[in-house]
């Protein structure tokens, strides 16, 4: 019984640390992603409120982010 309890606690701890680690990585990733959006939009002076596809500060085929940004690279899904 004691062994089972210890196993459950260990497994729960392990899964929680994995989830937390992923979240930290994703947050780091998202901060860069949003940052490039800000860079892309600052040229037009617009404010980001909703930008599902995301834009990169690079030449591309166009990107929608609160308006059309011609020849800016779409980040993609």
């Amino acid at each position: 019984m004691k062994k089972l309890f210890i196993s459950i606690v260990l497994l729960t701890g392990l899964s929680m640390s994995i989830v937390l680690c992923n979240k930290i990585q994703n947050d780091d990733y998202m901060s860069k992603f949003v940052l490039v959006n800000v860079e892309a939009l600052s040229a037009d002076g617009e404010v980001i409120t909703d930008c599902p596809n995301g834009c990169l500060d690079e030449a591309g085929e166009g990107c929608w982010c609160n308006g059309w940004h011609p020849y800016i690279k779409e980040y993609g899904t």
């Binding site: 780091d28 860069k32 490039v36 040229a43 037009d44 909703d50 930008c51 599902p52 596809n53 990169l56 690079e58 030449a59 591309g60 085929e61 166009g62 929608w64 982010c65 609160n66 308006g67 059309w68 940004h69 011609p70 020849y71 800016i72 690279k73 779409e74 980040y75 993609g76 899904t77």
Partner: protein, 344 residues
Amino acid sequence: MKLMKKISWLLFVAFFLSCAQKPDTEKFQKNRENILNVKNKVVAINFENIMLSNIVRCYLLDNYIIISDLRSSNKLIHIFDSTSFKHIVSSIDKGRGPGEIINMGYIAIDKQKNNLLVSDHGKNAVFTYNIDSLILNPSYLPSIFMEMRKKQFPSEYKYINDSLLIGKMIIVSSSGSFDEDICRINPKTGEYKPMKYSHKKIDVKRVSFDASTEDNIYVECYNYYDLMSICTLDGKLKYNIYGKYWNRQDGQKYTYYNAVAFCNDKIIALYADGKDNVYKGNNGELFVGRPTKLLVFEKNGDYVKTLDIGMKINSFCFDQTNNRLILVLDEEPQFAYLDLNELV
């Protein structure tokens, strides 16, 4: 009764064979191995004394190269002689006033009238600028060619006549994502009609396209699929050209085609060879998988050769007068040309 049984079997076999045979429209090109390394034939262009940003496009009209600079804070287009590359004039101010452009987009060419059709996604309109007037008269004002809707508009288009454009429409959904479709557009009314053919296996459609009125066809190349489709101008499929990565089907993870143009009797397309669309560098910075190759096809989609430029290419335009490609590169030099006379 036996005869009926035999006929049924024959019909079954015939049906099976007809299903197994691929229709003439479908072309699979797994081996595109006629590769020419042409890096040493790429010649740098020095557009004297003109500072340009990294978001630029090139267009050809008559003997002029038009460079549009979307990040410029003052003059948005620069006109050069297409043979000597000598600067002729810089024009169109950025701004909200008459004749100014807020958010410049695509520029289409009306060869017959020597006009540039310039999209402004800030004023939601396409303006007509006569190139001779732009060069001669600094205070020249354009006229409106068409009005655009804010969430349904052409991002690129080919001028056919005053009442018809073939163009790529952007249709923005309520969630803010958008779809692309090649359409017939009436600039007088703003109405558009999607082409009849669309490939059934495409999920996220992002395409580059070009249209040829001489051949009555348009070509669309998919950014996220190893596929090029050639259709008639009324939207009937002629050919689907599948590359070796067609079966990947990985959303927007990989990139294939980036731009395409009819160049005399050939189709030339920028090809990224299935690179990662966007990837992270060692320090977490994001990079774009740029194409370094040009694929050359016959107008029926048959593969001819690959021109390996060996440099990262953002876009290109075709200079018909000099039979060469003007390349916009993602590295130094920013502009270069490739003479096609001995290559294609």
